[in-house]
């Protein structure tokens, strides 16, 4: 057995990669979108062991949340003692394709909302119980359970005159330089996907698998949690959970991934 290749053997490799990325970025004035035919899921860029973890429902840690979500779906709550199942019956049928078309326009609010926000709206207005906190185990479980029903289906967001302005706002955020590092999402995820950043491969940032089990979190988390991590990564102030900037960005990311198959609940590094 030879000496292991230590990550510390070449500390300058990491710095060089980081600096190299910065240098290239300042040179390019405008980043281009990924051609449709070249779009690849983060799944394809993962190692075989992580893919194996996702592929097996009996080994995928996210399935623990799906299981919990199924229990919550059937649980009667609130003064009226109603469960999701009372209105929505069998989720396998009624929730099929739902996660694949969120964020969706909410007439009452006059803007698109996420699946998490939709679940909370039902709870507050229909079941008469308080909303679940963002990233709470219960909200993650319910979202994971609903998203699971769209697995294998193509992302299919209807875009119309109502949602267009929000889509445009999300696209603007994606291309806008932000934070102390003055980086835009596009610079990493359109221009430098496939290359390594601090030991991880940069994905194209298609949200096909959310909510997902991120190995770094050792837990299931939402797309908003991941986006906030990105913002912290470029040293920008992360938007609050549920903020319009995050919802619009999610709308843009889902639209950018239109046609790609959902693989929720996924596993990612």
């Amino acid at each position: 057995m030879g000496a292991p290749a230590s990550a510390a053997a070449s500390p300058w490799r990491v710095v060089r990669a980081a600096v190299g990325v910065i240098i290239v970025m300042t040179a390019s004035a405008f980043a281009g979108e990924i051609p449709r035919a070249e779009r690849r899921s983060g799944y394809d860029l993962m190692g075989p062991q992580t893919r194996a973890m996702q592929d097996d429902d009996t080994a995928n840690p996210a399935m623990l949340w799906v299981l919990e979500g199924e229990g919550l779906w059937n649980r009667k709550i609130g003064a009226a003692g109603s469960a999701c199942a009372d209105c929505h019956r069998d989720a396998g049928t009624t929730m099929k394709g739902v996660a694949a078309r969120y964020p969706a326009f909410d007439t009452a609010r006059g803007r698109p909302i996420t699946l998490e926000q939709r679940i909370n709206t039902c709870r507050v207005e229909r079941q008469q119980v308080p909303a679940l906190a963002y990233e709470s185990p219960q909200l993650l479980s319910l979202t994971a359970f609903v998203a699971r029903q769209s697995r294998g289906l193509p992302i299919d967001l209807p875009v119309d005159a109502r949602t267009q302005p929000f889509l445009d706002a999300g696209r603007a955020t994606f291309f806008r330089r932000q934070g102390q590092l003055d980086l835009s999402c596009s610079q990493c995820h359109d221009d430098h996907w496939g290359k390594e950043l601090a030991g991880n491969v940069i994905p194209q940032a298609h949200p096909t698998g959310y909510p997902l089990y991120r190995l770094e979190w050792q837990s299931v988390g939402s797309l908003e949690r991941r986006l906030r991590n990105c913002l912290v990564g470029i040293r920008a102030e992360p938007y609050e959970f549920g903020a319009p900037e995050l919802v619009d960005l999610e709308l843009y990311l889902m639209s950018r991934a239109a046609g790609m198959k959902m693989d929720a609940p996924a596993v990612r590094p």
Binding site: T58, A59, P61, L64, W65, P137, S141, Q218
Partner: protein, 106 residues
């Protein structure tokens, strides 16, 4: 959030080696982490996993903090007779979860 996923075949032939996959929800807090204020977060792990087959222990795992969160353990046992496979996880802070699954052996 309590949750257990057990994958065991419902039936097997006598003498067949069956693979059992177990996954349980648990943070496996190592006791080495520090929180935002710098205070050490106390250890909270599953320390022991035992599988019994019609009351006889057939597998045991003694776990330490280096086992990843939401412990995943896959092992095998010989299908000897029909009956019940019982699984118990115990750990810090009185953690104790027991689940069972039937197995039909021809």
């Amino acid at each position: 959030m309590a949750g257990v996923l057990i994958n065991v075949p419902e039936r097997a032939k006598r003498g067949e080696i069956v693979e059992i996959k177990t996954l349980i929800s648990h943070p496996m807090e190592t006791g080495y982490r520090r929180d935002q204020s710098g205070a050490r977060v106390e250890r909270d792990i599953i320390r022991l996993f035992v599988c019994t087959y019609n009351g006889t222990e057939v597998f045991r795992a003694e776990l330490h903090p280096a086992i990843a969160a939401n412990p995943f353990i896959v092992f095998t046992t010989v299908a000897t007779e029909s009956g019940t496979l019982s699984f118990q996880w115990t750990g810090d802070n009185g953690f104790s979860v027991t689940e069972s699954a039937p197995i039909a052996v021809d």
